[in-house]
Amino acid sequence: MKEKDITVVNKMGLHARPAAMLVQTAAKFSSSIKILKDDFEVDSKSIMGVMTLAAGPGSTLKFTADGPDESEALSAIEKLFIAGFMED
């Protein structure tokens, strides 16, 4: 099991488009990937879960991946965030 804290840096936060990108990325991995924000945990492969996080810019999310490709999954997700979901 691996954990990683990731901060939302893109200007719009996890709106529909970035949320969809996150879910589509997470779905590529077989590991279970959970997101924790302020004691509220959701499945990163669930678009509805990710949207209920209402994660605006500046919020910090704790990602926990568990499974055979947990490291790859976390680094792929982190890349998305660092790239600001290719917003700019």
Binding site: M12, R17, V23, S46, A54
Partner: protein, 583 residues
Amino acid sequence: MPNNKKTDVVFKGVAASSGIAIGKVFLLEDDDFCLIQKEIPGNARQEELNRLDCAIEKTRSELEVTYGKINEVLGRNYAKIADVHLLILDDPSLKQDVVKFINEGVNAEFAVFKVINKIVASFENIDDEYFRERKHDIQDVGKKILSNLLGKRSRSLSNISGESIVVAHNLTPADTVTIRESMVKGFATDIGGKTSHTAIVAQGLEIPAVVGLKSISLHAVTGDVLIIDGNKGEVILNPAQETLAKYRSELALQSERRKDLEKLRYLPAQTVDGKTISLWGNIDNYNEIESVVKNGATGIGLYRTEFMYFNRTSMPSEDEHFENYSKVVRAMSPHAVIIRTIDIGGDKLAKLGLLNFGKEENPFMGLRAIRLCLKYPEIFICQLRGILRASVNGKIKLMYPMISGIEELRAANKILKKVKENLRKENVSFDENMEVGAMIEVPAAAIIMDAIAKEVNFVSIGTNDLIQYSLAVDRINENVANLYDPLHPAILRLIKKIIDEGHKAGIEVGMCGEMAGDPFYTPALVGLGLDDFSVSSAQIPKIKKVIRSVSYEDAKSAADQILTLGDRESILKVIEKIKITEI
């Protein structure tokens, strides 16, 4: 049925698309389901799970069909809505919970209903309005699954006739596709505003429509007679005979006028005393070219490129820019196309709820348009390269939006120069003489027009922003929207100043805001000396008709008089007196 009463039942709403329509109501009702909780015995639960799978698969294929249709008819921007629905349908948490309930003995319908309600409730607790509103997407998907489970046809417009007027609480993008195919006469909805999806589609189809009627869908019944007055923003349900007769003759006049306008297509936009004015079209994408050309435009005065950025998961690439622009300029050749670099930010983004650059207190005055491009030059460079590369395929003019001072103009031009240098180094050809202009929509730019005119090849007045910034009126705010007035003497004087300073520097001055597209203002604008009008496709023949009916000399003396006046009433009187004689 027309009633014999003396009084009409009039509903007031927002005029979304102009014109009169009279027809029979086709009421598009929201699905309401009668759901009963049933106990499913253990041996029948597998069957219940199979029903669920069937319903989900059916919903998927429906969504895919809708997606394809929307994509085909309205473009990718709209199709993204169906795409989000597919992601929701595939959401593992949805199915997991429904299956859990079914395994506990709950019937599939009620299990879906319970899970959807639970998810919707969790959205309702979100503070952020954007996220909270996503609950509608979830409800939509839930309804689709339920109607497939119940074997009920989801609401359908497929048996509608061309004589109908569609009345609904709201219309989804999928509904409007059907409307487009079935050629209904008009539509009326409870919700929506002037810039809502429904309104934009109606304008594009040139179908009269009134939205924001609050409760029309509760009062109208299929088969009722309904008059849509898209000019006044009213609908009249089961009108009295007298009213019906009045609107019938207005309708006849309307079709006469349409026929007249069609005849104008090949005639020049020329005043009775021979002054030729350029009449161009405003477009958002390639699909609109056909209609713009059909209506007789001799160029594109405003190609808004921000639509390329909406509803997508990645930035458009340089090649995409190049291909889009090439298609448009090839189709318009030999006429020119003014490509406006992106104006992302402000109302458009907020309305679409998509690319939202953080939470700006005042997005209209925030980071948008050229400001955004100068702050994030990589976005700008990518677009400029696409534009320059496309410039060999036709005639392109480049226009920067939201210029407020010379420094911005120079900074943008500096980037343009650098981009050109790089293209030359790469041996990529482009039009070395591509004209560069500025949109004049910030009052500051209008005031220093003399300085700006010396550094551009043309300007185009963006009246929507110019008016709202000059008068400090947010036109979306209904408390002050009545103060938004193109005839405010300050606006007319600013326009005059822009035109005069432009002419002094020997450049053409155009206008691409809504004021240019309203025939009422055309004589005054001709009189003020405007060279080019750029308007939405449907307005082209109407504006041409007015231009061909006024004398420049008359209009000019009226304009000179207007500029001495300080109040709206007196200005209005002079404008109404300008003589209109058709040629």
